[in-house]
Every structure is written in C-alpha cells, then in structure tokens.
C-alpha cells in the first residue's frame, strides 16, 4: 500500500492520474477530504466528511470526469457506520473509493441520486438492509424486503 502525501507532491508534471485526482480533491476541499492514498494502480482511496459528500460528488462528476457511480456500500463498525462510495472514471480509468463516516445514533448522509441516477436504487438498498437514511432522496423506501419489515437485517445486532 503506497501512501501518497498530497502536500509534498513536488511538481504537477509527470504526476499520474491518481495523484491528480487526489490533489484536485484536496485543493477543492481542504477541510473535509483527508487521508488520500493510492492503493494500487487505478484505485484511490480518500475519506470525506459526511457534511460535504454531496458537493464532493458534484465536483467529481462535473470537473474531474467521474461519470459512473459503481457501488454504494454501508459497513457497520462498533462505533460508526461507514458509507463507501466507489466511483469510476471511464476516461482516466480510475476507481475512487470515498469513505464517509456517520455516528451510530445518526446514520444520515445526503443523497447523491440527483447527481448519478444509478445511485437511486443503491441508496434504497442501503437504507433497506443497513438503515442508512439518505436525505432528500426522491423515494426512500424498502426495495428488497417487504414494506412492513421493522428491522435492518445487515446490522450486527440483528440475529436471524
């Protein structure tokens, strides 16, 4: 795992696409985007504060050419929920792993389904199975489970 320090990048000439994306993100959102790292060629990870996820995604789509939202996954840890966005760029052949964290008692993030239409059902699925609430989602309903189910089965406190 090769960690790239963004601030110390000496020159913009010769930098690879991974570094370019990380630098652009860090420059646009110096407060909220952190821990940029290049995991392997073509795969970049960054952490983003949940308050800024909508604006980051807007910049990613409009300015940095990330036209495809691959996957939204929610992971439950002992102290937090992680919402992991995998966003792909077809032109620069990159996959960006954006990790956003919410506290256990308030699993809320902004919906990005107005940016990528493909996020619509994936957010509904995360809501259905993990109980993450996506604000300003057009239709946040259960999708895989019946509408009258009271639990979120992928949470660790749900036992069969």
């Amino acid at each position: 795992m090769e960690a790239v320090s963004i601030e110390k990048a000496p020159s913009r000439i010769g930098e690879n696409p991974e570094q370019r994306v990380l630098r652009a993100l860090a420059e646009s959102f110096p407060k909220t985007v952190s821990d940029g790292a290049r995991l392997r060629p073509g795969l970049v990870r960054a952490k983003v504060d949940r308050s800024d996820i909508f604006r980051v995604c807007r910049v990613l789509k409009d300015n940095l050419g990330f036209e495809h939202l691959t996957m939204i996954s929610a992971v439950e840890y002992d102290d937090r929920f992680e919402i992991v966005y995998h966003i792909a760029s077809y032109q620069s052949k990159l996959l960006l792993e954006l990790i956003s964290t919410t506290p256990k008692d308030d699993p809320t993030v902004d919906s990005i389904s107005s940016i990528w239409g493909g996020a619509n059902w994936q957010e509904r699925e995360s809501y259905d199975l993990m109980g993450i609430v996506f604000r300003s989602h057009p239709k946040l309903e259960r999708i895989l489970l019946p509408k009258d189910v009271l639990y979120h089965p992928l949470r660790k406190d749900f036992k069969g």
């Binding site: 073509g42 795969l43 036209e67 495809h68 939202l69 691959t70 996957m71 996954s73 992971v75 439950e76 992991v84 995998h86 077809y90 052949k93 996959l95 792993e97 990528w116 239409g117 493909g118 996020a119 619509n120 059902w121 994936q122 699925e125 199975l129 259960r142 999708i143 895989l144 489970l145 019946p146 089965p153 992928l154």
Partner: protein, 360 residues
C-alpha cells in the same frame, strides 16, 4: 382505452425469474413503468458473515444461475486482494479460460431466452443446444453443470482434465461456425430486425448517468470493458477487441453480445495456447487481516464488484456485492416509456435479467 396499470410479474412469461414490472399503458403504449424486485432476496450478504472464507465460494455460485463461475471468481479475487495471496500463473489462465467459456454459455442462454421472448422457437432450441457444448466442457473441468464451485482462494480446485485442450479447441471451432449460422438466422429474419432496430433507445448520457454497465453500456456508445480498461488476472496478455456500437437500441445490444461471443472464442483459444505449466493452487491463509479487499470484474451482464471487509478472523466482517442487473433494472423506466407493450419483452429481454444476483 383509459390508462391502466398492468402487473407483468411476479409470475409472467416475460420476467425470467421472480420480479414484477408494473407498467402503465395507454392502449398499448407505455406511459410509465415501475420495476419491483426483492422476491428472491435470500440475504446472501448476511449468510456470508457467518461462514468462513472457503465456505462462501459455493454460496457465491448461487448468485447467478447464468454465469456462476464469474461470481465465484470475483469472490476469490476480492478475498485474494484482502489477504494478499498471489495466484499462480497457470491458475490465472485456467480461470480466464473458464470464465470466457462461461461468458459464451451465459450469452447463449440470453440469446435463447431472447429468441423465446420474441416468439422465435427455433432460436431458443438451437442456442440452448449449443450452450450444452460449453456446459459439458465446464462439467469436464469442474464436475458440475450449473453451480461449479471451481475457483479457490489462491488458485483453482483442479488442473485441467486430460485432453481438455483438444476438446476446447474443437468446441470453439464448432461455436464459431454456429455463430455465423445464428447471425444468418436472426439478422436474416426481417421480423427480428423489425422488432429490434430502433426499439428501446438508451442514449449515451442516460446510460452513463443511470449506471448501466456491460453490453448495454457498450451498445450505447461507451467503449468501456473492465477486461480491457482496468485489466485484472491475465487479460493484459490477451488480444481481443471491445465490441462497441453507437445505436443504443435492442439490436445494438444483441449485436454487442454476439461480438463478445466471437471475442470470447478468441480468448479461449489464446488462453489455451499461452497456458504455462506449473502449480494451479496456492495454500491460502485461514484468517484474513483487518482491512478491505475489492474485486471488480466484467460479468457477462455488466460490472460486478465485491467489497470484502476483514477483521482478522476467519469470517468476513462484511461482504458487499454489487450486482450489475440491479442497477440496470433501475434504468428500465427510462428505456421503456413511449414504446408498445410488446416492446417491453424485447427491451427487458435485451437487458439480460438475472434475478438471482439482482436480489441476492
């Protein structure tokens, strides 16, 4: 006639599985559509949290009845990424060869279902008959016919059986002859072309925005194939083309899949030719380290991703599966509106639905 909602599903000849497409029709024209999924939700992600890493491989086979090998390969790939296991080169070649055979079989099954949807019985039986050739080959390789349980973490379960090279080359030669026949059979039929050309238009921007992947995306004019653009396994060694068309209609989706079968035949041949001698399986560790692993492959239906979170034990902490069809179906209303009721069959058939992976 006034507008009315029609339930096409859950039990309906069009659905190929268990899902429901509610369409609102004005006479025969569709004005609105709403897919409902979840009838086959088995909670595979939750099941996997209770099983050890090798035990999950047969579960991932059950994700898609059409191309189960791709999914177990994807799972092994993502766990290898998590564990940092190096796969022997021979195993990679065997996997690629088997996956491409699976892709041909899957596309043939799609073609059969599609022909059956359009009412073309001869297309159904001929393609299912020739799918059998590849199912038999995979049976010789893996021992099963539908859910193969063949890849392992760190390689594959067995080496090639005797004379497998010869049989595969024969099968591929046979298949290339057959593909020509299918092109004559389908494209030579005026009615088939009437039912396909210009139907189910999906523009490039919509396809990108709605997250459509795989052959449907490539038929809309985006040349993006994970095998070529973000190569995994030994795909960089292979010489093949990415099939792309700009039309974005049902015919383009059909054509892209036909071209992919041609390319898959080429890849099978090359993989057999370039396959080195050596080991085909490494011993993998029992426990995975804490961290994440990501696998991303080109399924016959689109982009399939698995995201594994390990916590140091021998069971995954979380396994997230991205099903290509799940996202593609959400784009269905966009494609359907404005066409006739009979086109629902052509359009949804052209997207290649597989409910097992859709509902997980």
């Amino acid at each position: 006639m006034a507008e009315m909602w029609i339930n096409m599903g859950p039990q309906h000849p069009m659905t190929h599985g268990l899902w429901n497409l509610r369409v609102k029709v004005d006479g025969e024209t569709i004005v609105d559509a709403e897919p409902e999924v979840g009838y086959l939700h088995r909670g595979i992600e939750k099941i996997c949290e209770g099983l050890t890493y090798p035990q999950i491989i047969p579960i991932t086979d059950r994700l898609c009845y059409g191309s189960s090998l791709t999914w177990s390969h994807l799972y092994c790939q993502s766990v290898e990424d998590l564990m940092g296991v190096e796969v022997p080169e021979r195993a990679e070649y065997i996997r690629v060869m088997a996956i491409e055979m699976q892709r041909i079989a899957s596309h043939l099954m799609w073609l059969a279902a599609y022909a059956g949807d359009l009412g073309m019985s001869v297309g159904f039986t001929y393609t299912m008959r020739d799918r059998e050739v590849f199912v038999d080959l995979l049976q010789a390789l893996t021992g099963s016919r539908l859910t193969y349980n063949y890849p392992r973490i760190g390689g594959v379960a067995h080496d090639l059986p005797p004379n497998f090279d010869r049989d595969s080359i024969r099968a591929v030669d046979y298949m290339e002859g057959r593909l020509k026949e299918y092109e004559d059979l389908f494209e030579g039929s005026k009615i088939f072309m009437m039912r396909n050309v210009g139907i189910g238009l999906l523009r490039k921007e919509d396809a990108l925005n709605l997250g459509v992947t795989g052959p449907s995306l490539r038929a809309s004019g985006v040349s993006y194939d994970l095998r070529k653009d973000m190569p995994y396994s030994v795909y960089p060694e292979m010489d093949f083309e990415v099939a792309t068309l700009d039309d974005g209609d049902c015919y383009a989706r059909y054509r892209v899949r036909m071209d992919e079968m041609w390319e898959s035949c080429k890849i099978v041949r090359q993989a057999l030719q370039k396959m080195p001698k050596g080991r085909w399986r490494m011993v993998s560790p029992r426990n995975a380290p804490a961290g994440t692993g990501l696998g991303r492959v080109e399924d016959p239906r689109g982009e399939a991703v698995m995201y594994v979170v390990g916590d140091g034990s021998d069971k995954p902490y979380r396994l997230k599966i991205r099903s290509p069809i799940f996202v593609t179906v959400s784009a269905a209303p966009k494609i359907l509106v404005g066409y006739k009721l009979a086109d629902v069959v052509a359009i949804m058939g052209g997207l290649d639905m597989c409910i097992g992976e859709n509902d997980r």
